[in-house]
């Protein structure tokens, strides 16, 4: 499948990274991330809390966690209330995205630094959703909320107010570029192209029909999309929730999972949040420009009439 490459360029500094990306394609044993500017550390962020061209965005699974205290100046974006259409299982329309950005003081050139709970699952999900609408300047706080709190860095309950911005309505959503739908996931399976299942091994094997600790989210059938490789999302992180090195990630995904820079890859989980984490790793840390997130994931596939499954390792 020929597709337009995703413009992963993040800001002006990333222009200088292009040679590293080129080098990456020739070398699947990289010594540094393809887009190191897509990550910021806790030290860096604490020193840039008041930068006017940055907006810190918290996105969590725990829907009241932001209210209990957040990084000073951070705004809250709720993965469901803010990013998902209330009626259709889909993301908001481009005009709603423009409104969301405007009311959070985010302009089209603002650099959004995402962070959150659960090792940045929802931060990566929000970042991916921002990329769906073409927002260019996006970064992740490496280690997320847990690392910030563990280091006793400042938090506040004050909710910031920013002047509304003029955010132009995006011309389109980049569904074709970075999102896969069920038919495309099936085509990926038929073509024997890389499909990465980032759920837990038990979910992948079909031993359980829900994620551990979420038994209320069961589906009709357990297993995985035929041909998918199991690479749980957590494989990409260290104990402190920061990302593993480029060399380690390359070994995991290129050597271990059969991902190839020249072949497009689809990632999935249950509802698209854990796979957003892996999408971020493959796109920004390993520099692939042809990775799509199948956000319908197992809650769609595992319930869908006519969808084939495989069980076992």
């Amino acid at each position: 499948m020929q597709r337009n490459p995703v413009p992963v360029q993040l800001d002006e500094s990333s222009c200088h990274r292009q040679s590293a990306v080129d080098h990456f394609y020739m070398n699947t044993n990289p010594t540094e991330y393809a887009h190191p500017e897509a990550l910021v550390g806790t030290d860096w962020l604490e020193q840039h809390l008041n930068d006017g061209d940055i907006r810190i965005v918290e996105s969590n699974e725990d829907i009241l966690l932001y209210d209990t205290g957040h990084i000073p100046g951070a705004v809250h974006i709720d993965w469901r209330a803010d990013l998902q259409d209330p009626v259709i299982r889909d993301y908001i329309a481009p005009d709603k995205f423009a409104e969301l950005c405007s009311r959070n003081g985010i302009g089209p050139e603002t650099t959004c630094v995402f962070y959150g709970d659960k090792a940045n699952w929802w931060a990566c999900y929000a970042l991916w959703a921002f990329r769906l609408f073409g927002h260019k300047n996006v970064k992740i706080l490496n280690g997320g909320r847990d690392k910030w709190k563990a280091e006793n860095r400042p938090t506040t309950r004050d909710v910031p107010k920013y002047p509304a911005t003029e955010y132009p309505v995006p011309a389109k959503r980049m569904d074709k570029e970075i999102r896969a739908f069920v038919d495309e996931a099936l085509a990926q399976s038929h073509a024997k192209k890389p499909l990465i299942d980032v759920r837990s091994p038990g979910e992948f094997k079909g031993e359980i029909t829900h994620m551990a600790e979420y038994p209320q989210e069961g589906v009709l059938r357990g297993g995985h999309i035929p041909g998918a490789k199991s690479v749980p999302w957590k494989t990409a992180t260290k104990e402190d929730n920061t990302f593993k090195s480029a060399a380690e990630l390359a070994k995991i995904y290129f050597e271990g999972a059969g991902v190839k820079p020249e072949v497009d890859t689809v990632v999935y989980c249950r509802i698209g949040e854990r796979s957003s984490h892996t999408w971020f790793v493959l796109t920004y840390l390993l520099g692939l420009d042809n990775v799509r997130n199948y956000d319908g994931s197992w809650t769609e596939w595992g319930n869908k009439v006519g969808a084939p499954i495989e069980k076992g390792a």
Binding site: E61, D62, I63, L64, L65, D67, T68, R80, A81, A212, E213, Y214, P215, Q216, E217, I271
Partner: protein
């Protein structure tokens, strides 16, 4: 229909606009440590475990006084979600003084009246989990009490 203290809490939440509802839930979450067992308290039953439904360990402690009134204390691991902490605090306060049977008979439909439909969703269902745990310990208490009564009558 509900114990009086819980009824008062439900009615309070139903009057709150969304922003204040969230603030009040966070305040209840903040006060969750006050619902932990106090020094030298002795309980009729203690049930501390990590279930699949919840992100961390939850302890439920039941004391039934000589008037048959239940007093519930809870301990929550650090990974327990904010909404679940809030509901634990609300239930410990709202059910204090109810009988174990009243707690067991409690319908769960009040949860959405407190939390609001917007916050009850996928990934926040553990709001119901703490109620289930409290009912569970009350059921064990009542079963044991009945078993004791049967033995005494035999």
């Amino acid at each position: 229909m509900y114990p009086e203290k819980l009824q008062n809490i439900i009615e309070l939440f139903e009057t709150l606009p969304e922003v204040e509802r969230r603030e009040t839930l966070v305040a209840y979450s903040d006060s969750a440590p006050k619902q932990e067992p106090r020094p030298n308290e002795k309980f009729d039953l203690e049930d501390v475990r990590k279930d699949e439904e919840c992100a961390d360990k939850v302890g439920v402690y039941l004391l039934v006084d000589d008037k048959g009134r239940a007093h519930v204390r809870m301990t929550l691991g650090p990974e327990v979600q904010t909404l679940t902490r809030a509901m634990s605090s609300i239930l410990c306060k709202g059910l204090d003084g109810a009988t174990p049977q009243e707690i067991l008979d409690l319908p769960s439909d009040f949860v959405t009246r407190i939390v609001g439909a917007e916050l009850v969703r996928v990934r926040s269902q553990t709001t119901y989990y703490v109620l289930t745990r409290i009912k569970g310990i009350c059921k064990v208490y009542l079963d044991r009490q009945r078993a004791t009564e049967v033995r005494l009558q035999a």
